[in-house]
């Protein structure tokens, strides 16, 4: 079995982002970038399945500019066998990413495609489901547990009401939730080894996919600031304030 894992390079989750003064987006120059957190869970799960003997190869794929190579390299350092970088410029919407990934799937013929459930930059939560639609494969979104059985996957999904278990035929798309596993750190020897693993570079334009954005981003602005609150000295004062000032209890 072969597992393709799609990953995205995003602004690190610990960075307090800044909106550009001209309202054209957020500042990304000289900002720490990392792998989208649930994508780390996706890589970890694929590598674990390989280590259990149920998969032969794990391929990491990402879409973006040259710098995205670092993100792919990191996936290789935690156990992916090889990488693919599909080079694009500018804003690429989830629909375009899923069309690019569809072409990669056509070529690589994986049995499973894993990715994070949502990217923490645009917060769209679309790509996995869109790719599943384009391929006419089943989708198991927000996975917190995956069991590989013969020709099917049993997946536990985190939903608003609690947990749901479904079975999907292989090939399938799985989008991973944060509680699926505990992503490992790359060891120094593995980081060194990863430098020798191949990363194939493909230009999106050679795949015949129209990646032009369909959505116009008119402006990006900061959210309204909350008025600074106060510190109360005691529980008694807190309750009095909630009762008589805020009038919420």
């Amino acid at each position: 079995m072969k597992i393709l894992v799609a990953i995205k390079r995003v602004i690190d989750y610990n960075v307090q982002i800044r909106v550009k003064e001209d309202g054209s987006g957020v500042v990304t120059d000289n900002v720490k970038m990392s792998t989208n957190p649930p994508d780390d869970n996706a890589i970890e799960e694929a590598v674990k399945i390989k280590e259990s003997g149920k998969a032969k190869e794990v391929v990491a794929v990402s879409v973006g500019d040259e710098k995205v190579q670092e993100t792919v390299r990191k996936a290789l350092a935690v156990g992916a066998d090889r990488g693919i970088l599909v080079k694009t410029e500018g804003i690429i919407e989830p629909l375009a990413v899923s069309k690019i990934l569809q072409k990669v799937v056509d070529k690589e013929k994986p049995d499973l495609v894993f990715m994070g459930k949502q990217a923490i930059d645009d917060d769209c939560n679309q790509t996995g489901q869109m790719l599943a639609a384009l391929l006419n494969w089943p989708q198991a979104t927000f996975a917190s547990k995956i069991e590989v059985k013969d020709k099917i996957l049993q997946v536990t999904r985190e939903i608003d009401e609690g947990l749901e278990t479904i079975e999907v035929n292989i090939p399938a798309i799985v989008t991973c939730d944060l509680r699926l596993n505990e992503p490992r750190y790359a060891s120094l020897p593995n980081i060194m080894k990863a430098k020798k693993k191949p990363i194939e570079q493909i230009n999106a334009s050679d795949l015949g996919v129209d990646t032009r954005p369909r959505i116009e981003q008119i402006k990006v602005e900061e959210p309204p600031k909350r008025k600074a609150g106060i510190k109360v000295a005691s529980v008694e004062e807190l309750v009095q304030k909630l009762k008589n000032e805020a009038k919420v209890i």
Binding site: N14, Q16, I17, V19, V26, P38, P94, L95, I120, D121, D123, N125, Q126, Q129, M130, L131, A132, A133, L134, P138, Q139, T141, F142, Q154, R157, E158, I159, D160, E161, G162, L163, E164, T165, I166, E167, N169, A172, D177, L178, R179, R214, I215, E216, I218, K219, V220, P223, R226, G229, I230, K231, V232, V235, E236, L238, V239, L242, A246, V248, I249
Partner: protein, 317 residues
């Protein structure tokens, strides 16, 4: 052209957020049709037909729609989509799972999780965990939109009498199969719609200690929330998680206990009307969004808080 809203329900009753989605839909266009896909779901179709904002209910009643399988839902939605200018549903786990599959088959770039309708093609949506807001305009012929339920008031639920049209189902999927749902039943208000939410974080130190939260929540008729750290640590189940990848809540009162206030947690609660933070670390980021901050050990403060609440003659419900 009309807008099509996909109803979320449990085959007996509509889920409350469907009413919020109906009000968002009617801000886009008053001609709102609602699609009810369900099994033995006549009562759902009927109650939606009584929502005054709804002009027509399209009901497809078949056992294949008993559980939400996006593969089953999608084919039938795509079939009728060309009659509509917009396809809309809530940006909760129901809509997040479903809508992109529909959008991709229609070759549409979806607009996720909108918090405001600016015009029929222009919307406001949070990005970067709500640390920025983008105004976006979609040029697709059919627009696929998911709405953030807590940003829209629920539509009134009675007084209307829309026509109910019964349609035929599509073929059942063989790609996926529903096995089971483990739903946590509770008498408490739902986290997403509760007037008061009391949340615990890593500072609670154990699942057992959440009983301190429960006692306060009981007194205030509140829902119980949690930070991702508390859920990851196994103190409480995932359906309680508030944050960027959990639930977004906008209660009148949000009480954060032992929660430091990571960016991703703030994303889920900072629109609350009044925020209280109880934390022994005076530098914790949660205090930057709190209206009332109490720098104290929660294990002293929570029992005292309950004691003070008990002294009050009345408590709003």
């Amino acid at each position: 052209m009309s807008v099509l809203l996909i109803a979320e329900h449990n085959n007996k009753e509509i889920k409350p957020f469907t009413l919020n989605a109906i009000s968002a839909a009617s801000q886009i266009n008053e001609d709102v049709h609602v699609l009810v896909l369900g099994s033995n779901s006549d009562s759902v179709a009927k109650s939606i037909s009584e929502v005054p904002n709804v002009k027509k209910v399209v009901h497809i009643n078949n056992s294949i729609y008993e559980n939400y399988l996006a593969e089953n839902y999608t084919s039938v939605i795509v079939k009728i989509a060309e009659n509509y200018s917009h396809i809309i549903c809530s940006a909760n786990t129901f809509g997040k799972n479903l809508m992109p599959r529909v959008a991709a088959l229609l070759d549409v770039s979806q607009v996720s999780d909108i918090t405001k309708v600016i015009s029929e093609d222009t919307f406001l949506r949070p990005i970067y965990a709500g640390n920025a807001f983008a105004t976006v305009k979609t040029n697709d012929k059919i627009k696929c939109i998911t709405i953030r339920p807590t940003s829209f008031d629920p539509a009134p639920s009675s007084g209307g009498s829309a026509e109910i049209q019964n349609n035929d189902p599509s073929d059942a999927t063989t790609l996926s199969k529903f096995i089971k749902k483990e739903e946590i039943k509770t008498d408490r208000p739902e986290l997403g719609t509760a007037r008061v939410v009391v949340s615990g974080g890593r500072g609670m130190q154990s699942g057992e200690n959440f009983k301190l939260i429960t006692a306060v929540a009981d007194k205030l008729n509140a829902a119980i929330g949690a930070s991702r750290a508390a859920v990851d640590a196994g103190y409480i189940t995932n359906d309680h998680q508030v944050g960027q990848t959990g639930k977004v809540v906008v209660p009148d009162l949000y009480i954060a206990v032992g929660i430091s206030g990571a960016i991703q947690h703030l994303a889920g609660m900072k629109e609350s009307k009044v925020i209280v933070a109880i934390n022994k670390d005076g530098e914790a980021p949660i205090f930057s969004v709190a209206d009332y901050g109490l720098e104290a050990d929660l294990f002293d403060a929570l029992p005292k808080f309950l004691e003070e609440l008990n002294k009050l003659n009345t408590i709003q419900k």
